[in-house]
Point group: D2
Chain length 342, copies 4
Amino acid sequence: MNKVIVGVIGAGRIGRLHVDNLQKLPSLEVKAVSEAYLNEELKLWAESQGIGLLTTDTEIILQDPEIMAVFICTPTDTHAELIIRAARAGKHIFCEKPVSLSLEKTMEALRVVGEEGVLLQVGFNRRMDPNFRRLKQLVEEGELGAPHVVKITSRDPQPPSEAYIRSSGGMFMDMTIHDFDMARYLAGSEVVEVYARGANLIDPVFGRNGDIDTAVVTLSFQNGVIAVIDNSRQAVYGYDQRVEVFGSLGSACADNCRPTTVELSTAAGITRDKPHHFFLERYSQAYIDEVVSFSAAIQLGETVICGGNDGMQAERIAKAAKESLETGLPVQLPLQTEVEAC
Amino acid sequence: MNKVIVGVIGAGRIGRLHVDNLQKLPSLEVKAVSEAYLNEELKLWAESQGIGLLTTDTEIILQDPEIMAVFICTPTDTHAELIIRAARAGKHIFCEKPVSLSLEKTMEALRVVGEEGVLLQVGFNRRMDPNFRRLKQLVEEGELGAPHVVKITSRDPQPPSEAYIRSSGGMFMDMTIHDFDMARYLAGSEVVEVYARGANLIDPVFGRNGDIDTAVVTLSFQNGVIAVIDNSRQAVYGYDQRVEVFGSLGSACADNCRPTTVELSTAAGITRDKPHHFFLERYSQAYIDEVVSFSAAIQLGETVICGGNDGMQAERIAKAAKESLETGLPVQLPLQTEVEAC
Amino acid sequence: MNKVIVGVIGAGRIGRLHVDNLQKLPSLEVKAVSEAYLNEELKLWAESQGIGLLTTDTEIILQDPEIMAVFICTPTDTHAELIIRAARAGKHIFCEKPVSLSLEKTMEALRVVGEEGVLLQVGFNRRMDPNFRRLKQLVEEGELGAPHVVKITSRDPQPPSEAYIRSSGGMFMDMTIHDFDMARYLAGSEVVEVYARGANLIDPVFGRNGDIDTAVVTLSFQNGVIAVIDNSRQAVYGYDQRVEVFGSLGSACADNCRPTTVELSTAAGITRDKPHHFFLERYSQAYIDEVVSFSAAIQLGETVICGGNDGMQAERIAKAAKESLETGLPVQLPLQTEVEAC
Amino acid sequence: MNKVIVGVIGAGRIGRLHVDNLQKLPSLEVKAVSEAYLNEELKLWAESQGIGLLTTDTEIILQDPEIMAVFICTPTDTHAELIIRAARAGKHIFCEKPVSLSLEKTMEALRVVGEEGVLLQVGFNRRMDPNFRRLKQLVEEGELGAPHVVKITSRDPQPPSEAYIRSSGGMFMDMTIHDFDMARYLAGSEVVEVYARGANLIDPVFGRNGDIDTAVVTLSFQNGVIAVIDNSRQAVYGYDQRVEVFGSLGSACADNCRPTTVELSTAAGITRDKPHHFFLERYSQAYIDEVVSFSAAIQLGETVICGGNDGMQAERIAKAAKESLETGLPVQLPLQTEVEAC
């Protein structure tokens, strides 16, 4: 099969991560990278990765007929517009989450994607984590029977910078959105009600910026599943990412991953490794597998593992969670058929 | 120290369990047992346990001046009245949970207990489980810093009988009440809001009786702690009893207990023991330790580990959870100082 | 069934442990305890346990026609003679391990037991540990197929006193003897060769007394099983007692037992409980179950779980291990049929 | 730093594995591959990997002045001669284990390597396994105090082919040799005595070829450490690779690695993943890390993590183990200073 020639838009942390992975894969090739803020370090990096073209002009990528797909790795507020431009240029699109901070913009972007008939994959990388894939497989194969309860523990090791907090869209849109997608993925249904409790317990910087750092969110699904997510911006012992699905025939738990299996026993106690430090370590395989899956979808003309509608649904839940937090009341979500289809 | 001479009121499953334990302890002695429905089996059992008196007349126990304390192990709807009678007779009281299904009756009973100056211990045995005590100790010693989130998984292995369901007061009052108490115990604060989601997913017998079998309850505490409890009436793999406390300095999880530590590895997979079957096995040590603690409180004139107010608070939460389930809305609980003190 | 009336000879740590357990069991009753060195503490203890007779004269116990069985809990060098006297007096016998430090004395004692037709149970309590029983059950039910390798880790938390070391008979006879019995029990065969390596790595007190504190022993069994035992007199993290059986259809491992299941996660690391401190905690249930089993054998006329031959075989292996350590060569053990039958 | 240009000699399973890894690493580049038996499949593979030259003539690689290092991945009986030829050609050498089946040949090869001053790394890849590296680190940092006992469990999932068995040099030279190296690595000392017990319990094919399939080997080290290794050619539950180091200040255990952390709880039991299937999966990271380490040693002029002497010492132990098995006696190994230095 022919390689999928791609352009990467945005060379921040996540853009460079994707390039590093893409260049090791036999099915893809990065032809060009665009980045608004070029510097020497980036140039050296691009050279070491064998990138032919490093530019500040995204249009060069969009107009290159050889490039079949683009990776949108820019700040969130540019996603929707870039999706529209890329779709109009006939490129398949891999876009980091969230699609946008505005449901209207997201729906507009999805509409254009639909019109142009290109593929759009949203970067909910955790769907490809081997542990959570195994949970999904157990659900789908019926090993757990009818699912009743989904429990997600999702805690970051430390808070982001204040600059990041300000432009993040808030904890639900920035952090919990991964968990909303995971809950939908595992429940196999759509959310009909959201109830969120949150607090600012860790650092006043969150409160100062109208945000929270601790939350418990209950999701009620159309098929009766109840999901519960607890989040913290600071788990001092490391990145805590556990998921459990309980059903009529059993339960399955995905525990944290650790650097080694070594257990140390001394007079001071019995100790094992902390979980992997953060998402780059914990989800390193998932970041690879999601782009392998994306390129296979392009090559085989299949659907992506996580599309525009998945992105939009997670955003709807995040928005409802924010409303619930503000009103103190559960928020109903109209059934999917009642909103404009994407 | 002198032995604490006790009478046991009610010789059902839990009453006989207490007698079995009491008779092995050096600090207590069961002088008499009363039970409304006597049969041959009970007589043989009482004999084997060396019980001097087995009677249908509870008054004999209450009037015996040698008996210092009574264990109330009768059906829930008799608890409050028996507490009042025992308190008036000057007996210390160990009463199984809940104190009653009516907050008014509970408060009346507590009022009389207060007037008579006797001790009342409510049978929230899980407080004495070695695993949960260790959690409590970690919280109290500050190892976890300020507590932020308490998570309780509490699932029974199989549903009770329809007769039991009918008189149980509903899942929140019968089953979750233990978890409400555990959440209060670990959070070290009082609940100010309850939000409950529930469903009838396991067996229509629950729905037929106006009850649920699956629930997720969120509790908000005055000190900012958020607790979340998930319950099921049927975990096919056994009695699932796990608790986790997450705080500013760390997290502590109490896992299930199992009959053995053996792990079996075959071509079919890697298998370990299911959790202990049900509460009699899982909490066997807690059932002993709670009565040891009760007798020590009597002998030393100390307060009990779990008193009448604890019983009432858990009932208030259960009642609010039921209201939340029915209305679909969070229910506020007035601060403790606003209700009549006990 | 009638209670088994017993006398206990020797009221040191292990004798008192047995009395404490026996007095809680419905099937046995301790009528008398003899102890060479009586003091006030012992008298108070006997009173608290409801022991009718505390004496320095063992003969009173042996001559009491009501006493059906004796527990021999005296120092090892008195075991063989007491077994002979008790057997001649027609008492069933529970004797702590080892039967003696001399194979000749052990065989003489077993001969008398055989002549008198009384039961003799040797206190290899670990056979009744729930974890190791489960291993045995898996072997017997064929879950592991043909057993190939047995691995035993057996490490004490700290060295005994020098006085104890002097009279212990050496590490193999005092400590490893339990592991030799466990290996025989799980292999289901007899040892044909012993190879022992040992060293004095922990404390010079062992070397001063001609003993070792660290050992690795390989046992070859008639049925092809190879067992390997590693011992240490000092595991600073607690009592390390693990056993593994590997066979043609799988493997089963019994891990250590711990006071609680709590795992603590902090910035300093992920910590769980150390193993139970020592044998009294780890094998508390086994100490109960072995005497229940002994009383049942008496009441039902069945064979004991661990008899005189088991005691003698373990002593033969211990003796061979010592010889191997001294000569640096493997030591062959003649097949069981070639030694005088017991 | 300049890339290390390498040639790979032998394109069997392990040769291709190395090429796959080398081509993904920025510090190395495979210029040529030689293989005696070329076929279409190999040509396609070489093309897909971007290998410029695929030849049957090893001499082309050895004479290429641009090639700085060779990987010897041919059958064992060619290793020594190829090492000599490569060393004479001035190439640094990475050679798969064992160096040879004859100690004389190995020593001759090491002599030439020493004369030519090239680097020789022997492929004991497990030294780079993250779990075992952590054990080594704990030993070196003194966390375990003085090491006393090393325990290695090393079991293959299924037996190799009869053809493989015939040319393998026997289980000790083919399989246990990895464990001998690991024991030396962790004990930090040299072996002075070897005692081996082995049996043919799994498949008669081993016995037919004068080999065994089950073994327990005890190694005594000059510094007092005792190591014990148990091996099986067939662990039906997967590749069982566990190592434990016990010392004066504690113990550290490296457990098996598994594809996921998921635990499944059903009415049938509590199940988790089997260990990784075999060495390609379990040691995938180690295979990468050992070549990264090799290229760094070349680039920085440092010593390799595992050199010719390490290869020779492991072979000496394997040979002694075979002799012990045949004679039934422990075999002494003269101290390292007494053999010709390498």
